[in-house]
Subunit: 237 residues, 2 copies
Protein backbone atom coordinates (compact mmCIF):
# COMPACT_ATOMS: atom_id res chain seq x y z
CA UNK A 1 0.00 0.00 0.00
CA UNK A 2 1.50 3.41 -0.91
CA UNK A 3 2.19 5.97 1.75
CA UNK A 4 -0.21 8.90 1.82
CA UNK A 5 1.47 12.27 2.33
CA UNK A 6 -0.80 15.16 3.30
CA UNK A 7 0.55 18.65 2.71
CA UNK A 8 -0.35 21.95 1.07
CA UNK A 9 -0.31 21.41 -2.69
CA UNK A 10 1.23 24.66 -3.91
CA UNK A 11 4.40 25.03 -1.83
CA UNK A 12 7.47 22.98 -0.99
CA UNK A 13 7.22 23.98 2.67
CA UNK A 14 7.82 21.40 5.36
CA UNK A 15 6.32 18.69 3.19
CA UNK A 16 9.37 18.89 0.94
CA UNK A 17 11.61 17.32 3.57
CA UNK A 18 9.33 14.29 3.53
CA UNK A 19 9.06 14.24 -0.28
CA UNK A 20 12.86 14.18 -0.61
CA UNK A 21 13.14 11.18 1.72
CA UNK A 22 10.37 9.32 -0.12
CA UNK A 23 11.98 10.09 -3.48
CA UNK A 24 15.47 9.00 -2.39
CA UNK A 25 13.99 5.79 -0.96
CA UNK A 26 12.12 5.13 -4.20
CA UNK A 27 9.02 4.68 -2.06
CA UNK A 28 5.53 4.51 -3.51
CA UNK A 29 3.49 7.46 -2.24
CA UNK A 30 0.46 9.58 -3.00
CA UNK A 31 0.72 13.33 -2.46
CA UNK A 32 -2.93 13.45 -1.44
CA UNK A 33 -3.74 17.16 -1.53
CA UNK A 34 -2.27 17.38 -5.05
CA UNK A 35 -4.57 14.66 -6.37
CA UNK A 36 -7.31 16.06 -8.63
CA UNK A 37 -10.29 14.58 -6.82
CA UNK A 38 -8.94 14.74 -3.28
CA UNK A 39 -7.13 18.00 -2.68
CA UNK A 40 -6.99 20.15 0.41
CA UNK A 41 -10.53 19.14 1.32
CA UNK A 42 -9.43 15.55 1.96
CA UNK A 43 -6.61 16.83 4.15
CA UNK A 44 -8.83 19.13 6.17
CA UNK A 45 -11.50 16.49 6.57
CA UNK A 46 -8.95 14.07 7.98
CA UNK A 47 -7.73 16.63 10.51
CA UNK A 48 -11.29 17.45 11.57
CA UNK A 49 -12.29 13.87 12.27
CA UNK A 50 -9.22 11.95 13.38
CA UNK A 51 -8.96 10.58 16.88
CA UNK A 52 -5.35 11.74 16.67
CA UNK A 53 -5.60 14.98 14.70
CA UNK A 54 -2.30 16.54 13.64
CA UNK A 55 -1.94 20.19 14.65
CA UNK A 56 -0.85 21.06 11.11
CA UNK A 57 0.34 19.43 7.88
CA UNK A 58 2.48 17.64 6.87
CA UNK A 59 1.34 14.28 8.11
CA UNK A 60 1.88 10.80 6.74
CA UNK A 61 -0.40 7.79 6.70
CA UNK A 62 1.17 4.35 6.56
CA UNK A 63 -1.81 2.02 6.85
CA UNK A 64 -3.14 2.58 10.35
CA UNK A 65 -0.15 4.60 11.52
CA UNK A 66 -0.57 8.38 11.24
CA UNK A 67 2.40 10.61 11.96
CA UNK A 68 2.53 14.38 12.10
CA UNK A 69 5.48 16.75 12.60
CA UNK A 70 8.14 16.63 9.90
CA UNK A 71 10.98 15.41 12.10
CA UNK A 72 8.84 12.59 13.50
CA UNK A 73 7.81 11.51 9.99
CA UNK A 74 11.46 11.36 8.95
CA UNK A 75 12.41 9.45 12.10
CA UNK A 76 9.79 6.87 11.12
CA UNK A 77 10.72 6.72 7.42
CA UNK A 78 14.45 6.69 8.14
CA UNK A 79 14.19 3.46 10.07
CA UNK A 80 12.04 1.78 7.42
CA UNK A 81 14.15 2.74 4.39
CA UNK A 82 17.74 2.66 5.61
CA UNK A 83 17.97 6.46 5.58
CA UNK A 84 19.22 6.61 9.18
CA UNK A 85 21.89 4.93 11.32
CA UNK A 86 21.00 1.44 12.53
CA UNK A 87 21.88 1.77 16.22
CA UNK A 88 19.78 3.57 18.83
CA UNK A 89 22.40 6.19 19.73
CA UNK A 90 22.90 6.94 16.04
CA UNK A 91 19.18 7.16 15.38
CA UNK A 92 18.74 9.61 18.27
CA UNK A 93 21.72 11.66 17.10
CA UNK A 94 20.21 11.94 13.64
CA UNK A 95 16.85 12.90 15.12
CA UNK A 96 18.59 15.60 17.14
CA UNK A 97 20.17 16.96 13.96
CA UNK A 98 16.77 16.94 12.24
CA UNK A 99 15.09 18.78 15.11
CA UNK A 100 17.81 21.42 14.91
CA UNK A 101 17.18 21.71 11.17
CA UNK A 102 13.49 22.20 12.02
CA UNK A 103 14.43 25.07 14.33
CA UNK A 104 16.54 26.61 11.58
CA UNK A 105 13.68 26.28 9.07
CA UNK A 106 11.28 28.02 11.43
CA UNK A 107 13.75 30.87 11.86
CA UNK A 108 14.05 31.14 8.07
CA UNK A 109 10.26 31.41 7.90
CA UNK A 110 10.08 33.99 10.64
CA UNK A 111 12.43 36.33 8.78
CA UNK A 112 9.48 37.37 6.60
CA UNK A 113 6.82 36.73 9.26
CA UNK A 114 8.25 37.89 12.59
CA UNK A 115 4.94 39.18 13.94
CA UNK A 116 2.23 36.83 12.70
CA UNK A 117 1.80 34.05 10.17
CA UNK A 118 -1.74 35.36 9.80
CA UNK A 119 -0.63 38.72 8.37
CA UNK A 120 0.89 39.46 4.98
CA UNK A 121 4.61 40.13 4.68
CA UNK A 122 3.71 43.65 3.55
CA UNK A 123 2.09 44.24 6.95
CA UNK A 124 5.30 43.38 8.85
CA UNK A 125 8.05 44.58 6.51
CA UNK A 126 9.83 46.80 9.01
CA UNK A 127 9.98 44.07 11.62
CA UNK A 128 11.03 41.57 8.93
CA UNK A 129 13.97 43.75 7.92
CA UNK A 130 15.15 43.94 11.51
CA UNK A 131 14.71 40.25 12.21
CA UNK A 132 16.39 39.26 8.95
CA UNK A 133 19.45 41.31 9.74
CA UNK A 134 19.92 39.25 12.89
CA UNK A 135 19.28 36.08 10.90
CA UNK A 136 21.96 37.01 8.36
CA UNK A 137 24.50 38.30 10.89
CA UNK A 138 24.11 35.76 13.67
CA UNK A 139 21.79 32.85 13.08
CA UNK A 140 22.84 31.60 9.63
CA UNK A 141 26.56 31.69 10.54
CA UNK A 142 25.84 29.90 13.83
CA UNK A 143 23.79 27.11 12.27
CA UNK A 144 26.14 26.63 9.33
CA UNK A 145 29.14 26.50 11.65
CA UNK A 146 27.39 23.76 13.61
CA UNK A 147 26.68 21.69 10.49
CA UNK A 148 30.26 22.21 9.32
CA UNK A 149 31.53 21.04 12.72
CA UNK A 150 29.39 17.92 12.62
CA UNK A 151 30.56 17.06 9.12
CA UNK A 152 34.18 17.65 10.08
CA UNK A 153 33.90 15.52 13.22
CA UNK A 154 32.06 12.63 11.55
CA UNK A 155 34.42 9.64 11.99
CA UNK A 156 33.21 8.24 8.64
CA UNK A 157 34.25 11.42 6.82
CA UNK A 158 32.77 14.81 5.95
CA UNK A 159 30.51 13.70 3.09
CA UNK A 160 27.58 12.94 5.41
CA UNK A 161 26.20 14.30 8.67
CA UNK A 162 26.37 10.86 10.31
CA UNK A 163 27.92 7.61 9.12
CA UNK A 164 29.13 6.91 5.61
CA UNK A 165 25.82 6.79 3.74
CA UNK A 166 23.06 9.11 2.67
CA UNK A 167 20.47 9.83 5.37
CA UNK A 168 17.32 11.88 5.67
CA UNK A 169 19.31 14.54 7.55
CA UNK A 170 21.63 14.95 4.54
CA UNK A 171 18.58 15.38 2.31
CA UNK A 172 17.10 17.93 4.69
CA UNK A 173 20.31 19.94 4.92
CA UNK A 174 20.39 19.97 1.11
CA UNK A 175 16.86 21.40 1.12
CA UNK A 176 17.70 24.11 3.65
CA UNK A 177 20.74 25.22 1.67
CA UNK A 178 18.76 25.18 -1.58
CA UNK A 179 16.06 27.29 0.03
CA UNK A 180 18.44 29.78 1.58
CA UNK A 181 20.35 30.11 -1.69
CA UNK A 182 17.04 30.94 -3.39
CA UNK A 183 15.99 33.46 -0.75
CA UNK A 184 19.36 35.01 0.11
CA UNK A 185 21.73 34.57 -2.85
CA UNK A 186 24.19 37.27 -1.73
CA UNK A 187 24.38 35.98 1.82
CA UNK A 188 24.77 32.36 0.78
CA UNK A 189 27.48 33.08 -1.76
CA UNK A 190 29.58 34.33 1.14
CA UNK A 191 28.51 31.72 3.66
CA UNK A 192 29.08 28.70 1.46
CA UNK A 193 32.64 29.83 0.83
CA UNK A 194 33.20 29.62 4.59
CA UNK A 195 31.46 26.27 5.04
CA UNK A 196 32.92 24.05 2.37
CA UNK A 197 31.70 20.70 3.63
CA UNK A 198 28.15 22.02 3.79
CA UNK A 199 28.49 23.35 0.23
CA UNK A 200 29.88 20.01 -0.99
CA UNK A 201 27.04 18.07 0.64
CA UNK A 202 24.48 20.33 -1.02
CA UNK A 203 26.06 19.74 -4.41
CA UNK A 204 26.45 15.98 -3.95
CA UNK A 205 22.83 15.46 -2.93
CA UNK A 206 21.58 17.38 -5.97
CA UNK A 207 23.51 14.97 -8.18
CA UNK A 208 22.14 11.75 -6.72
CA UNK A 209 20.21 10.01 -9.52
CA UNK A 210 16.81 9.81 -7.85
CA UNK A 211 17.04 13.32 -6.40
CA UNK A 212 18.22 14.74 -9.72
CA UNK A 213 15.30 13.08 -11.53
CA UNK A 214 12.92 14.38 -8.89
CA UNK A 215 14.23 17.94 -9.03
CA UNK A 216 13.76 17.94 -12.81
CA UNK A 217 10.23 16.50 -12.60
CA UNK A 218 6.92 18.28 -12.23
CA UNK A 219 6.63 16.72 -8.79
CA UNK A 220 9.13 19.33 -7.54
CA UNK A 221 7.13 22.49 -6.91
CA UNK A 222 9.27 25.56 -7.68
CA UNK A 223 10.27 27.83 -4.81
CA UNK A 224 7.79 30.67 -4.57
CA UNK A 225 6.76 33.58 -2.37
CA UNK A 226 4.10 31.59 -0.50
CA UNK A 227 6.59 29.14 0.98
CA UNK A 228 9.15 29.13 3.75
CA UNK A 229 12.03 30.42 1.62
CA UNK A 230 11.05 33.62 -0.18
CA UNK A 231 13.04 35.80 -2.51
CA UNK A 232 12.52 39.32 -1.20
CA UNK A 233 15.62 41.14 -2.49
CA UNK A 234 15.32 43.83 0.17
CA UNK A 235 16.02 41.19 2.84
CA UNK A 236 19.22 39.92 1.24
CA UNK A 237 22.64 41.49 1.67
CA UNK B 1 24.77 5.45 37.12
CA UNK B 2 22.70 8.62 37.43
CA UNK B 3 21.59 10.54 34.35
CA UNK B 4 23.45 13.77 33.73
CA UNK B 5 21.24 16.67 32.67
CA UNK B 6 23.00 19.68 31.18
CA UNK B 7 21.08 22.94 31.18
CA UNK B 8 21.38 26.57 32.20
CA UNK B 9 21.38 26.71 36.00
CA UNK B 10 19.29 29.81 36.66
CA UNK B 11 16.14 29.27 34.61
CA UNK B 12 13.47 26.62 34.16
CA UNK B 13 13.61 26.98 30.39
CA UNK B 14 13.49 23.92 28.20
CA UNK B 15 15.39 21.91 30.80
CA UNK B 16 12.33 21.99 33.01
CA UNK B 17 10.41 19.62 30.72
CA UNK B 18 13.17 17.09 31.27
CA UNK B 19 13.38 17.73 35.01
CA UNK B 20 9.65 17.10 35.41
CA UNK B 21 9.92 13.73 33.65
CA UNK B 22 12.93 12.72 35.73
CA UNK B 23 11.17 13.76 38.93
CA UNK B 24 7.92 11.94 38.11
CA UNK B 25 9.96 8.84 37.23
CA UNK B 26 11.86 9.06 40.52
CA UNK B 27 15.03 8.78 38.44
CA UNK B 28 18.47 9.46 39.84
CA UNK B 29 19.99 12.46 38.04
CA UNK B 30 22.60 15.16 38.38
CA UNK B 31 21.73 18.67 37.20
CA UNK B 32 25.31 19.20 36.11
CA UNK B 33 25.48 22.96 35.54
CA UNK B 34 23.95 23.53 38.99
CA UNK B 35 26.65 21.51 40.74
CA UNK B 36 29.09 23.75 42.67
CA UNK B 37 32.31 22.51 41.10
CA UNK B 38 31.01 21.83 37.60
CA UNK B 39 28.68 24.57 36.49
CA UNK B 40 28.21 26.07 33.08
CA UNK B 41 31.87 25.56 32.29
CA UNK B 42 31.43 21.76 32.32
CA UNK B 43 28.45 22.15 29.98
CA UNK B 44 30.28 24.41 27.55
CA UNK B 45 33.38 22.22 27.57
CA UNK B 46 31.29 19.19 26.64
CA UNK B 47 29.69 21.04 23.74
CA UNK B 48 33.06 22.24 22.48
CA UNK B 49 34.68 18.82 22.39
CA UNK B 50 32.00 16.23 21.69
CA UNK B 51 32.02 14.23 18.49
CA UNK B 52 28.26 14.79 18.55
CA UNK B 53 27.95 18.32 19.93
CA UNK B 54 24.41 19.46 20.75
CA UNK B 55 23.45 22.75 19.11
CA UNK B 56 22.17 24.04 22.46
CA UNK B 57 21.21 22.83 25.94
CA UNK B 58 19.40 20.90 27.27
CA UNK B 59 21.10 17.62 26.63
CA UNK B 60 21.16 14.39 28.59
CA UNK B 61 23.91 11.86 29.12
CA UNK B 62 22.96 8.30 29.89
CA UNK B 63 26.29 6.49 29.97
CA UNK B 64 27.54 6.65 26.41
CA UNK B 65 24.29 7.91 24.94
CA UNK B 66 24.05 11.68 24.54
CA UNK B 67 20.76 13.22 23.50
CA UNK B 68 19.99 16.83 22.70
CA UNK B 69 16.70 18.53 21.85
CA UNK B 70 14.06 18.44 24.57
CA UNK B 71 11.49 16.39 22.66
CA UNK B 72 14.10 13.78 21.74
CA UNK B 73 15.23 13.51 25.37
CA UNK B 74 11.65 12.94 26.46
CA UNK B 75 11.10 10.38 23.72
CA UNK B 76 14.09 8.50 25.09
CA UNK B 77 13.15 8.82 28.77
CA UNK B 78 9.49 8.04 28.12
CA UNK B 79 10.33 4.62 26.79
CA UNK B 80 12.68 3.81 29.66
CA UNK B 81 10.39 4.91 32.50
CA UNK B 82 6.89 4.02 31.37
CA UNK B 83 6.00 7.67 30.74
CA UNK B 84 4.81 6.99 27.16
CA UNK B 85 2.50 4.53 25.41
CA UNK B 86 4.02 1.10 24.81
CA UNK B 87 3.12 0.61 21.14
CA UNK B 88 4.92 2.25 18.22
CA UNK B 89 1.91 4.19 16.92
CA UNK B 90 1.24 5.48 20.43
CA UNK B 91 4.86 6.45 20.98
CA UNK B 92 4.92 8.38 17.70
CA UNK B 93 1.61 10.07 18.55
CA UNK B 94 3.00 11.20 21.88
CA UNK B 95 6.17 12.44 20.21
CA UNK B 96 4.04 14.41 17.77
CA UNK B 97 2.19 16.01 20.69
CA UNK B 98 5.51 16.88 22.34
CA UNK B 99 6.91 18.44 19.16
CA UNK B 100 3.78 20.58 18.94
CA UNK B 101 4.29 21.62 22.57
CA UNK B 102 7.86 22.57 21.59
CA UNK B 103 6.49 24.79 18.82
CA UNK B 104 4.10 26.41 21.30
CA UNK B 105 6.93 27.00 23.78
CA UNK B 106 9.04 28.70 21.13
CA UNK B 107 6.13 30.97 20.24
CA UNK B 108 5.73 31.84 23.93
CA UNK B 109 9.42 32.76 24.01
CA UNK B 110 9.21 34.82 20.85
CA UNK B 111 6.47 37.02 22.31
CA UNK B 112 9.16 38.90 24.21
CA UNK B 113 11.94 38.27 21.68
CA UNK B 114 10.38 38.57 18.21
CA UNK B 115 13.46 40.13 16.61
CA UNK B 116 16.50 38.54 18.20
CA UNK B 117 17.36 36.36 21.19
CA UNK B 118 20.62 38.30 21.25
CA UNK B 119 18.95 41.61 22.10
CA UNK B 120 17.25 42.65 25.34
CA UNK B 121 13.47 42.74 25.57
CA UNK B 122 13.75 46.49 26.04
CA UNK B 123 15.29 46.74 22.58
CA UNK B 124 12.31 45.05 20.90
CA UNK B 125 9.36 46.15 23.02
CA UNK B 126 7.29 47.56 20.19
CA UNK B 127 7.62 44.43 18.12
CA UNK B 128 6.97 42.31 21.21
CA UNK B 129 3.70 44.11 21.87
CA UNK B 130 2.56 43.46 18.32
CA UNK B 131 3.62 39.83 18.27
CA UNK B 132 2.08 39.15 21.67
CA UNK B 133 -1.27 40.49 20.59
CA UNK B 134 -1.33 37.87 17.85
CA UNK B 135 -0.19 35.24 20.37
CA UNK B 136 -3.04 36.13 22.73
CA UNK B 137 -5.72 36.52 20.06
CA UNK B 138 -4.86 33.64 17.76
CA UNK B 139 -2.10 31.30 18.81
CA UNK B 140 -2.97 30.52 22.43
CA UNK B 141 -6.64 29.82 21.59
CA UNK B 142 -5.58 27.64 18.65
CA UNK B 143 -3.11 25.54 20.63
CA UNK B 144 -5.39 25.19 23.65
CA UNK B 145 -8.30 24.15 21.43
CA UNK B 146 -6.07 21.45 19.95
CA UNK B 147 -5.08 20.11 23.37
CA UNK B 148 -8.70 20.22 24.48
CA UNK B 149 -9.72 18.28 21.36
CA UNK B 150 -7.08 15.62 21.97
CA UNK B 151 -8.13 15.21 25.59
CA UNK B 152 -11.78 14.99 24.58
CA UNK B 153 -11.11 12.43 21.87
CA UNK B 154 -8.83 10.23 23.99
CA UNK B 155 -10.65 6.87 24.11
CA UNK B 156 -9.26 6.28 27.62
CA UNK B 157 -10.84 9.51 28.89
CA UNK B 158 -9.99 13.20 29.14
CA UNK B 159 -7.62 13.00 32.11
CA UNK B 160 -4.57 12.35 29.91
CA UNK B 161 -3.39 13.34 26.44
CA UNK B 162 -2.95 9.70 25.42
CA UNK B 163 -3.92 6.49 27.20
CA UNK B 164 -5.06 6.20 30.79
CA UNK B 165 -1.81 6.97 32.60
CA UNK B 166 0.50 9.89 33.21
CA UNK B 167 2.98 10.55 30.40
CA UNK B 168 5.73 13.01 29.68
CA UNK B 169 3.35 14.93 27.42
CA UNK B 170 0.94 15.47 30.33
CA UNK B 171 3.85 16.78 32.41
CA UNK B 172 4.91 19.10 29.60
CA UNK B 173 1.41 20.46 29.07
CA UNK B 174 1.26 21.14 32.81
CA UNK B 175 4.49 23.12 32.51
CA UNK B 176 3.26 25.17 29.57
CA UNK B 177 0.04 26.08 31.36
CA UNK B 178 1.96 26.94 34.55
CA UNK B 179 4.28 29.15 32.54
CA UNK B 180 1.53 30.89 30.62
CA UNK B 181 -0.45 31.47 33.81
CA UNK B 182 2.65 33.13 35.29
CA UNK B 183 3.29 35.29 32.23
CA UNK B 184 -0.26 36.06 31.16
CA UNK B 185 -2.58 35.76 34.18
CA UNK B 186 -5.43 37.75 32.65
CA UNK B 187 -5.35 35.86 29.38
CA UNK B 188 -5.14 32.46 31.03
CA UNK B 189 -7.97 33.14 33.45
CA UNK B 190 -10.22 33.51 30.41
CA UNK B 191 -8.68 30.71 28.37
CA UNK B 192 -8.77 28.07 31.08
CA UNK B 193 -12.49 28.69 31.54
CA UNK B 194 -12.93 27.73 27.89
CA UNK B 195 -10.64 24.69 28.01
CA UNK B 196 -11.75 22.75 31.03
CA UNK B 197 -9.96 19.48 30.37
CA UNK B 198 -6.69 21.34 29.93
CA UNK B 199 -7.30 23.19 33.20
CA UNK B 200 -8.12 19.93 35.00
CA UNK B 201 -4.98 18.24 33.72
CA UNK B 202 -2.85 21.17 34.90
CA UNK B 203 -4.39 20.92 38.37
CA UNK B 204 -4.10 17.13 38.58
CA UNK B 205 -0.42 17.05 37.60
CA UNK B 206 0.44 19.67 40.25
CA UNK B 207 -1.11 17.39 42.87
CA UNK B 208 0.82 14.24 41.99
CA UNK B 209 2.96 13.36 45.03
CA UNK B 210 6.38 13.44 43.35
CA UNK B 211 5.58 16.56 41.31
CA UNK B 212 4.12 18.33 44.36
CA UNK B 213 7.25 17.51 46.38
CA UNK B 214 9.44 18.72 43.52
CA UNK B 215 7.52 21.98 43.06
CA UNK B 216 7.93 22.71 46.78
CA UNK B 217 11.66 21.88 46.76
CA UNK B 218 14.63 24.11 46.06
CA UNK B 219 15.23 22.05 42.92
CA UNK B 220 12.33 23.92 41.27
CA UNK B 221 13.79 27.22 40.07
CA UNK B 222 11.15 29.96 40.33
CA UNK B 223 9.81 31.50 37.12
CA UNK B 224 11.78 34.65 36.36
CA UNK B 225 12.35 37.25 33.67
CA UNK B 226 15.33 35.44 32.14
CA UNK B 227 13.32 32.39 31.15
CA UNK B 228 10.83 31.46 28.47
CA UNK B 229 7.73 32.60 30.37
CA UNK B 230 8.14 36.18 31.56
CA UNK B 231 5.76 38.38 33.52
CA UNK B 232 5.71 41.64 31.60
CA UNK B 233 2.33 43.10 32.61
CA UNK B 234 2.22 45.30 29.51
CA UNK B 235 2.02 42.15 27.35
CA UNK B 236 -0.95 40.64 29.19
CA UNK B 237 -4.58 41.53 28.55
Amino acid sequence: MPYELYYWPSIQGRGEFVRLALEEAGADYIDVAREPRKGVRAMQSFMDKSERPPFAPPFLKDGDVIIGQTAAILFYLGGKHGLAPGDEAGRMWMHQIQLTIADFVLEAHDTHHPISAGLYYEDQKDEAARRTQDFRDNRVPKYLAWFETILTRNPAGPAHLAGGNITYADLSLFQVIAGLAYAFPKLMKRELRNHRNVAALHKAVAERPRIKAYLESSRRIPFNESGIFRKYPELDA
